[in-house]
């Protein structure tokens, strides 16, 4: 008996950029050619980005990983026609190497607790009917027809849902402010969805909009009804074209079904949505800057009070929430506040979606209950550190957060615990760092990011962050001075306490936490002029291990500064090409090759790392650069533009 199968092919941006569209086309073509009764469905991101492009075959629950169009033939022949799954394309446990065919058996999936990511990878984001089929828009109908705005707000309040954009403010309370705000000039109120996900490495919001945009839209509809807004804006960064496209499709379909527009569900409630695209500014993820951008002004934040709930867009009460926050709302309305509040720890209720990236075996998006230990996320779900390297730190909260060391692995993740440690939960970015990462370099990277993205309005952020960056550059180049640590801390505190908006107030966090937990690395850079992780270019040298080098000349051919030269292995004789005969010269070539090694000239080497990353024999190694004062120190440490 043949079972009718369905193949769900992930078409989130990550997989699309790795060729998922071609894989899907190949599948469809092959299936038609073979006249098989198999349906191929497009879905959004299912979270396990490490192994994309991926496809799930139902009802077998089989997950296929790292697909290429060439693999399709084997899947069709072996699995779809002959019923035998292709083992080499299964997920393999990173430590044992054993294949795990069913996705339900993979710890990455079954250790998660899925609320808002529940249907990712199983519904077509561009078909509203599929969302409705899984119960979509029922919560909105219930809210608008059977509940009052006060009741809705009470429900959200009891769930203790907190904003998932980073600030963690109680959503129900925020909605209440907006609801009770006196509209002043007119009755108009606004609701905004903040989709300007700017943290480097964060892609939860993007994936949600690409996998299940209706869940967010439904949340906005409920929120708008609760606070009394008739107009909503979705501010998405322009760097997410696929998300924008899927939103446009979703909004159009929702309008056609009457979920947006006038008299929604036949009630007196009117509400419609507009998409505004960002223009390349991280600072526009800050709510007041975002509102300025929507109003067509320069994206500068403004001081609060007054808060957006009393004076927002065009002076009217406005409520802003993150993409993920809105996605929780329909679930809470449908399943009740207690269902949500039963999960979590202390005042941090429900689940949290993290983007787990960095030095980790299983990178992707994971949804876990609040209060889970960091160790569980990183090792149980994440599969631990690849290549047998040692864990060093985990960076949470993006450029606003901090790096936590090994001693924090057993901390239970909540808003409060991370804040007490000096970091923040943020919007869910989690970057795992191993022993090969230099913490000074990490801090420098994040500061350079915030320096670039600072809007320039207030002096502490505009000037102070640049100064911090200058100091870190000096330290990383071996020009650090004793006072630099104290200077960084003092600058950091001035910027934190003096800045106008969250960007400035949190920008020093990566630096301050790395100084707090990895002070010895800073001291090594400053006093010993040494980079323990051997990352900072000015403090290391590349050299070639003669025993491992085979003279393949790959490094020489790719060196951008011609710092690699050919040399003869010590103790060997120079074999010149004596015989022009082709066959013989091949022999001689081989002998010559065996006696050839490469050597790196430190003076010309710029430590780009190309040779190090590509040597097939692992023959290129790093060592500490001996400290030579005149060479490294500049004549004057002044900066003149």
């Amino acid at each position: 008996m043949t079972t009718r199968r369905t193949i769900f092919v992930c078409q989130g941006t990550g997989c699309v950029s790795s060729g998922a569209s071609q894989v899907q086309r190949e599948l469809e073509r092959d299936i038609i050619d073979h006249k098989l009764d198999v349906e191929v469905r497009l879905t959004g991101c299912r979270g396990f980005c490490q192994i994309g492009p991926s496809a799930i075959v139902e009802p077998d629950d089989i997950l296929y990983c790292r697909l290429k169009p060439a693999d399709v033939k084997e899947i069709v022949d072996s699995h779809l026609i002959n019923g035998s799954p292709v083992s080499r394309l299964h997920y393999h446990d990173p430590t044992t190497g054993d294949p795990i065919p069913k996705w339900t058996d993979i710890p990455f999936y079954n250790r998660q607790q899925k609320m808002i990511t529940a249907y990712w990878g199983f519904i077509n984001p561009e078909d509203i009917e599929e969302y409705i089929a899984i119960g979509g828009y029922r919560a909105a109908r219930q809210a608008i027809l059977a509940m009052s705005p006060d009741e809705i707000i009470e429900e959200i309040k009891s769930s203790q849902l907190r904003g998932r954009g980073g600030a963690g403010f109680l959503t129900g309370v925020k909605w209440d402010f907006a609801r009770r705000s006196d509209s002043g000039k007119s009755d108009q109120k606004y609701i905004i969805c903040n989709g300007d996900e700017g943290d480097p490495g964060a892609f939860m919001d993007r994936s949600l909009l690409e996998a299940n945009p209706h869940s967010m839209i439904e949340g906005m509809i409920i929120g708008a009804f609760a606070i009394g807004a008739s107009k909503g804006f979705i501010y998405v960064r322009a760097e997410y074209p696929l998300a924008v496209h899927r939103l446009e499709v979703a909004i159009a379909q929702a309008r056609m079904r009457g979920f947006l527009g006038s008299h929604i569900f036949g009630s007196s409630f009117d509400f419609d949505l507009q998409i505004n695209q960002g223009a390349g500014a991280f600072v526009c993820g800050e709510e007041t800057a975002l509102m300025a951008s929507i109003m067509g002004k320069r994206g500068n934040p403004r001081p609060r009070p007054p808060y957006p709930a009393s004076e927002g867009l065009w002076g009217q009460p406005t409520n802003i929430n993150n993409v993920k926050t809105f996605a929780y709302v329909p679930l809470i309305i449908k399943q009740g506040a207690k269902w949500f509040a039963d999960v979590g720890l202390g005042p941090s209720k429900g689940t949290m979606v993290f983007s787990l990236t960095g030095k980790i075996n299983n990178s992707g998006l994971v949804e876990v209950p609040m209060g889970i230990k960091l160790r569980q996320i990183i090792y149980d779900i994440g599969g631990g550190i690849p290549h047998g390297k040692r864990f060093k730190a985990v960076q949470t909260g993006g450029p606003s957060g901090g790096c936590l060391p090994e001693s924090y692995l057993d901390k239970k993740v909540t808003y409060e615990s991370l804040q007490a440690a000096g970091s923040i939960l943020g919007s869910g970015g989690m970057i795992v760092l191993d022993e090969d990462v230099c913490m000074v370099d990490m801090a420098k990277y994040f500061i350079s990011f915030t320096e670039e993205e600072s809007c320039g309005k207030c002096s502490p952020c505009r000037i102070g962050i640049r100064r911090m960056h200058n100091v870190l550059e000096r330290v990383a180049n071996g020009q650090g001075e004793e006072e630099d640590l104290g200077l960084l801390e003092e600058l950091g505190n001035t910027i934190k306490d003096g800045s106008l908006c969250g960007l400035g107030q949190t920008a020093p966090n990566p630096v301050l936490t790395t100084i707090r937990y990895f002070r010895d690395e800073y001291i090594a850079h400053i006093v010993d002029k040494r980079c323990p992780a051997k990352v900072c270019g000015s403090l290391i040298e590349y050299y070639i291990d003669e025993d491992k080098c085979t003279g393949c000349l790959l490094c020489l051919r790719n060196c951008p500064t011609n710092a690699v030269t050919e040399a003869r292995r010590e103790g060997t004789r120079d074999i010149g090409i004596k015989k022009p005969d082709k066959a013989a010269s091949v022999e001689e070539e081989k002998k010559k090759r065996a006696n050839t090694i490469c050597s790196i000239n430190t003076a010309t080497c710029v430590r780009c790392g190309i040779c190090y990353a590509n040597c097939p024999h692992g023959a290129i190694l790093k060592k500490d650069r001996p400290f030579i004062s005149e060479e490294i120190l500049a004549v004057s440490s002044q900066t003149y533009v």
Partner: protein, 554 residues
């Protein structure tokens, strides 16, 4: 405060600032309340009557119940708020922020211990392009950064000095801009937006490279900037300056007067140095909303009034037809004698609209007694006789003209006066008409900065005009010449002795001044002379503006 509120029926609430209970009305910010109560909070970007951005962060205070620090210039006062404006923490933070601001401003002099001796000893201004220290800065005496450094007791800046390296912007008329001194307080942008609604400038670029500029960084003369200099007057540093008046330092005297170049009658303070009008600026604490002065009064007066071509000595025509210089007695007698040969119907008086009320009144009275009220004004090449019923037939009967605005008496108008035999010119500069053989006397007179008086402006305001400098040579105010001529003609109908009697007359005959056509704000002349002829930068501005927009706005 409470009594005032009761009078006005405003809701009064109280709050505590630094252990002191103060009252406030809703809508005020903490900063406004503090200022009113005599509590000092340092600020840089905030300015009364301009919306506050809260960007310099110097005015931060602690508010009970709010985490961290808030800027007092943006936070609305709330009932029962408890505010602390000063503590060691706040002071440390303010000092840290000021240090950061100063590390990107040429500030070595600001924190130098021997600054005072150096400035006393140093030669006067070195008139350089790039400012590298307080000594070369035209803003030195009124710089707000200096005041802050003194208040906070800042003695050193621990960061290496960063010079931003922006090119100097000196190609526009009137204005020099050195954005290397700019601390990005944004006051200039806000005043341009609020006052004139022009928004000629804004913040451009972002992050550390932010600067103030026009759209597409066009020169101001090609944007919609009207060079009113309001931005220059609110700038706390020397980044924005008026080129013509930045180097003379402390003036010898400052005189508050009214600009009478147009009907607005803006209050201006005239700086006098070396006995010359050197510059004009608004009253230092003038509220932003009151600012109305334009480029003409603000920048053009010195060049307009100090030209060496000013008429200095009376000149009369001798029998042999040569013009010779004379003293006032001779000149007055000559003119009065000349006038006595004509019937009142044959005399007409051209009154300039740019005269003070006293001068206008004296001319009107003269015309009433000696010229059958044939006094006229020239408005846009039209001749207006306000006190005569039918003016058509007058001109051809006129044989002698007493002019106070000779440059407006152009060919087109001259043609109307076909029977003209004699002209008496009372003016400040020579004009093409001066060369006419019909001119019998040229009497030098003063401009409004060289005399006392009053001027009736728009909305029926009567503003004072105060003497700020001595007139050149023997020039004498218009009203005085007219009164002397009138008295010399010995007609008892003309009863003016001195300025006080003129005042009485004006009070009793207000319709005289009311009949004077007002000078509109977009006027380009003074007493008939195009300002562009005397002030090269003004000519550039007018030409470019006419080219690009077809009209000149102020």
């Amino acid at each position: 405060m409470v009594e005032l509120a009761e009078q006005k029926n405003i809701a009064v609430e109280t709050m505590r600032i630094n252990e002191k209970t103060v009252s406030f009305s809703s809508g005020e910010t903490i900063l406004e309340v503090a200022r009113r109560s005599g509590i000092y909070i340092p600020t840089l970007c905030a300015r009364a009557d301009l919306p506050s951005p809260g960007s310099c962060r110097l005015c931060i205070v602690e508010v009970e119940g709010i985490k961290g620090y808030v800027t007092s210039c943006t936070t609305p006062a709330q009932p029962n708020m408890v505010v602390n404006t000063n503590s060691p923490e706040i002071e440390r933070l303010r000092r840290g922020i000021l240090e950061l601001i100063l590390s990107e401003h040429p500030s070595a002099c600001l924190v130098c211990p021997i600054r005072e001796t150096c400035e006393k000893f140093d030669a006067p201004s070195s008139k350089t392009g790039r400012v590298t220290g307080c000594n070369m800065c035209p803003n030195r005496d009124i710089c707000e950064l200096r005041q802050l450094v003194e208040y906070l007791g800042l003695e050193q800046i621990k960061y290496p000095f960063l010079y931003k390296g922006f090119p100097l912007e000196r190609d526009d008329p009137f204005m020099d801009r050195d954005y290397n001194l700019c601390i990005l307080c944004g006051r200039c942008i806000r005043v341009c937006q609020e006052n004139l609604g022009l928004s000629a400038i804004s913040f451009i670029r972002r992050g550390h490279g932010t600067k103030v500029g026009t759209s597409f960084e066009k020169p101001h003369v090609d944007s919609n900037c009207v060079f009113c200099m309001h931005c220059v007057d609110v700038c706390p540093t020397g980044a924005l300056t008026v080129r013509g008046s930045k180097w003379y330092g402390y003036p010898d005297s400052e005189t508050s007067t009214t600009c009478i170049l147009c009907e607005r009658g803006c209050e201006l303070v005239i700086d006098t140095k070396w006995n010359k009008v050197m510059g004009a600026h608004p009253v230092r604490d003038m509220s932003v909303g009151e600012r109305e002065y334009c480029v003409k009064g603000r920048c053009c007066l010195p060049a307009l009034f100090n030209s060496p071509d000013r008429l200095k000595y009376p000149a009369i025509r001798r029998e042999d037809s040569k013009m010779i210089y004379a003293d006032w007695d001779h000149a007055i007698n000559y003119v009065s004698d000349l006038l006595s040969h004509y019937k009142p119907r044959e005399i007409a008086v051209l009154c300039s609209r740019h005269l003070t009320d006293e001068s206008i009144y004296a001319l009107n009275e003269f015309a009433r007694v000696y010229a059958e009220s044939n006094i006229f004004y020239i408005v846009d090449r039209d001749v207006i006789f306000p006190h005569v019923e039918k003016s058509d037939g007058i001109c051809k009967d006129v044989k002698l003209l007493y002019l106070t605005e000779a440059n407006s008496f152009t060919n087109g108008i001259q043609e109307k006066f076909g029977g003209l035999e004699n002209i008496v010119i009372q003016d400040i500069y020579a004009s093409p008409l001066s060369k006419s053989p019909k001119v019998s006397a040229i009497l030098p007179t003063t401009v409004f900065t060289e005399m006392n008086g009053t001027k009736t402006c728009a909305d029926n305001r009567r503003e004072p005009v105060t003497k700020a400098a001595e007139p050149p040579g023997n020039a004498v105010p218009d009203w005085e010449i007219t009164v002397n001529i009138g008295n010399a003609l010995n007609n008892r109908g003309f009863k003016m002795k001195d300025s006080r009697s003129i005042q009485n007359h004006i009070q009793m005959h207000p319709w005289i001044i009311a009949a004077v056509p007002m000078v509109p704000k977009d006027s380009l002349t003074y007493r008939g002379f195009p300002i562009a002829d005397f002030v090269p930068d003004f000519r550039i501005f007018v030409e470019r503006r006419l080219q690009s927009k077809g009209e000149v706005r102020f």
